[in-house]
């Protein structure tokens, strides 16, 4: 493990949360060190937001503890909150206020003195590239600008731990890249970052360590290299298909050297020790079964392969 040297900034142990019959978070423990970017990777409904809500003191855990920067975090206490910057999954900004007013409001709420606040607001507007539009109501902003402001508010009070909950969902590619770059820059400044996503490329690109979460449980944890090594030298074959595939899947699964076969909406995802080598036989099974084949992708071992290996499910929705 790369950067868990000294005292962790955030330490979460044995978190549980149930909503009725749903065990949304089931014994989650995490440690995030200074300057570390930790990725929580998992599909929708895995329990990422619920974990974060307990970490940020929004939700009372059924069991378990959260300590951030040495202070226990509890919903009923305001202690230790300044150490956390939260960027919620939904755009949490006020549409009838300008970008500047949004920032100034939260600066005041975090108890920043006026002069410091206005200086910091100016800085953040510059960082998120909204200086020119600072006086405009945010309802007039583009989607990307809103996303940037959403993140800027989380950064405003210079937290030691920044939590970003799926910040790129529904964002155009250009804004998405800008967001990823700014997250990279932040961890360079020594901020600890907890980043949740269901995009494995983002986790791979940004995160020093990744926890893979499914059904409320962290099922694997480590660097990308560590995680992919755990499944051996397997390649991932992704084939877009149309039509009947059930019989073909059975045949493919029975082939030698095939570790796992999963399916999402329009594609089969196959883990094979030597994907390219098996490809002709796989395609043969599919066309025999009457399926039409679109594009075919063979990739080196990656996090999606890990997820498939661990859960038997494809990671994408």
């Amino acid at each position: 493990m790369s950067t868990t040297s000294s005292e962790p900034i955030a330490e979460v142990s044995g978190l549980h949360k149930r909503f009725g019959a749903v065990h949304a978070v089931n014994d989650v423990s995490l440690r995030i060190g200074a300057g570390e970017t930790y990725g929580l990777l998992g599909p929708n409904g895995a329990g990422k937001t619920t974990t974060i809500s307990m970490l940020a003191g929004l939700l009372e855990p059924d069991e378990g503890t959260v300590v951030v920067a040495g202070t226990p975090i509890r919903p009923r206490s305001t202690k230790g909150r300044e150490a956390i910057g939260l960027v919620p999954q939904d755009l949490a900004i006020y549409p009838d206020l300008s970008g500047e007013e949004n920032l100034s409001f939260f600066a005041a709420l975090y108890g920043m003195p006026n002069r410091e606040a206005s200086q910091r607001v100016t800085e953040i507007l510059d960082v998120i590239g909204l200086t020119d539009r600072r006086k405009d109501r945010t309802s007039k902003y583009s989607g990307g600008m809103k996303r940037r402001l959403n993140i800027g508010i989380g950064l405003l009070h210079s937290p030691r731990l920044l939590i970003l909950d799926e910040p790129t969902v529904g964002v155009d590619p250009q804004s998405r890249n800008a967001i990823l770059e700014s997250v990279e820059a932040l961890s360079g400044e020594g901020m600890a970052v907890l980043y949740t996503t269901h995009y494995m490329e983002e986790a791979e690109r940004l995160c020093d360590r990744i926890g893979i979460i499914d059904d409320g449980t962290v099922i694997a944890e480590g660097t990308t290299a560590e995680l992919t090594a755990s499944i051996g030298e397997q390649e991932r074959v992704r084939i877009e298909v149309n039509g009947q595939v059930e019989d073909a899947v059975e045949h493919i699964r029975a082939m030698d050297g095939i570790a796992d076969v999963g399916a999402d909406d329009h594609a089969l995802v196959i883990l094979a020790s030597d994907g390219s080598h098996h490809l002709p036989a796989i395609i043969g099974h599919l066309t025999d079964g009457g399926a039409q084949i679109g594009s075919i992708d063979v990739t080196r071992p990656d996090l999606e392969a890990v997820f498939l290996h661990l859960t038997g499910k494809a990671l994408r929705e």
């Binding site: 809500s53 929004l58 919903p75 956390i84 939904d90 949490a92 900004i93 939260f106 709420l109 975090y110």
Partner: protein
């Protein structure tokens, strides 16, 4: 805590003043509605009110001529013009021809009735085109008959009645009637206006408490809960915003009614106290609804129904009966107490007359406020 509440309140007020709905629903709509009602129900103010009445003495007795002279003596006082008509004049014809507002007819046998055990009565023939002025005359005559009844009781059997006394006191009776032609207390238009104001404040206060639900839906509540501020400060701020907006809107309406339409509320201290406590009650009641509702939209719909329902029950639209089940239910609404306080205020010697209504409203506010706080507190989750 105070800093957090102040910051939240400032933010919310800025938002509310920026989107137009507060002004539209809180101020403009009730104002326009009140103007329309005013057109329908006649003058709100009556500084210029002039009343032209005729008197027909069909009785020609000592008593009736004394009374007739008393009425004619009012001529020229406080906007009254009184003409004595012939004993056999046709009141309807005179009204048609001369455009009088009303004619008081002292019927044949009036004097005999006064001096016996029969109940004497006076007739008022009204000009249908001048309902406000005719109403003044009618209420003057009602007061006069009551005065005569009283003097009869006091005088005892057989004694000669002195009807010049009621005619004297008539001047002061008239003075009061002239200022409040709707009857006792507030005039009809002003009452309508106050009814609209107290009904609409139930809509206005939604812009505070209900935004707790919309912030929850939009996700900004998550941010507020993550901030280093006490959770209750969010709830308190929402209540405070409701209160400020409600008081602001209602006071603007009351001042507008007084400046633009000449409505007279009597003591401003009393009226302000009534507003302060009515709005508090409205905030508490609407907060209960917000606390129970699933969504902001659902809360808005339920609040609209309850706002209109309470307004009808409490007499915002038309005066409700004082007795029976209806009267009892009416007393559970702030509207009833607000309006009854305003009714008493113009004639009262001091603003302290609003004590009972204010107390009643404060009790309703507490009874609703406690469960509201408990319910809303449970909504403070991401």
């Amino acid at each position: 805590m105070i800093h957090a509440v102040a910051t939240l309140v400032r933010k919310d007020l800025r938002e509310r003043f920026r989107d137009k709905s507060f002004f539209l629903l809180g101020i403009l709509t009730p104002l326009v509605l009140a103007f329309i009602l005013d057109l329908v129900f006649g003058d709100l103010g009556e500084g210029e009110l002039e009343v032209r009445m005729g008197v027909v003495d069909a009785d020609q007795s000592d008593v009736s001529s004394q009374l007739g002279e008393g009425l004619v003596a009012l001529d020229g006082q406080g906007g009254f013009e009184v003409t004595m008509l012939g004993a056999d004049a046709d009141a309807d014809a005179v009204i048609d021809d001369d455009g009088l507002d009303a004619v008081v007819v002292i019927p044949d046998g009036f004097g005999a009735a006064v001096n016996s055990t029969d109940t004497p009565s006076l007739d008022v023939v009204e000009n249908p085109d001048r309902p406000v002025q005719a109403g003044v005359v009618e209420s003057v005559v009602d007061g006069l008959v009551a005065d005569i009844e009283r003097s009869r009781l006091l005088a005892g059997a057989g004694e000669q009645l002195d009807l010049t006394v009621p005619a004297d006191s008539l001047a002061s009776v008239l003075e009061v009637r002239r200022e409040h032609p709707g009857g006792e207390g507030l005039d009809v238009g002003a009452r309508m206006f106050a009814g609209m104001a107290v009904m609409f404040v139930f809509f206005t206060v939604q812009f505070g408490v209900t935004t707790l639900l919309s912030e929850k839906e939009s996700g900004t509540l998550t941010r507020l809960l993550a901030a280093p501020i006490p959770r209750d400060s969010v709830m308190i701020a929402k209540g405070a915003v409701s209160y400020v907006l409600g008081v602001l809107a209602t006071m603007i309406l009351m001042v507008a009614a007084s400046v633009l339409l000449g409505a007279s509320w009597g003591s401003w201290i009393g009226a302000t106290l009534l507003v302060l406590s009515a709005v508090l009650t409205a905030v508490a009641l609407m907060a209960v609804v917000a606390g129970l509702a699933k969504t902001a939209e659902g809360a808005g719909a339920a609040q609209a129904i309850i706002a209109v329902g309470l307004a009808m029950l409490g007499g915002s639209w038309f005066p409700v009966g004082e007795d029976g089940l209806i009267g009892m239910l009416a007393r559970l609404t702030p509207h009833y107490w607000f309006l009854s306080g305003l009714e008493d205020l113009p004639d009262a010697a001091s603003w302290t007359v609003v004590g009972t209504p204010v107390l009643a409203m404060l009790i309703i506010a507490v009874v609703a406020g406690v469960p509201a706080a408990i319910l809303l507190r449970r909504r403070l989750t991401p």
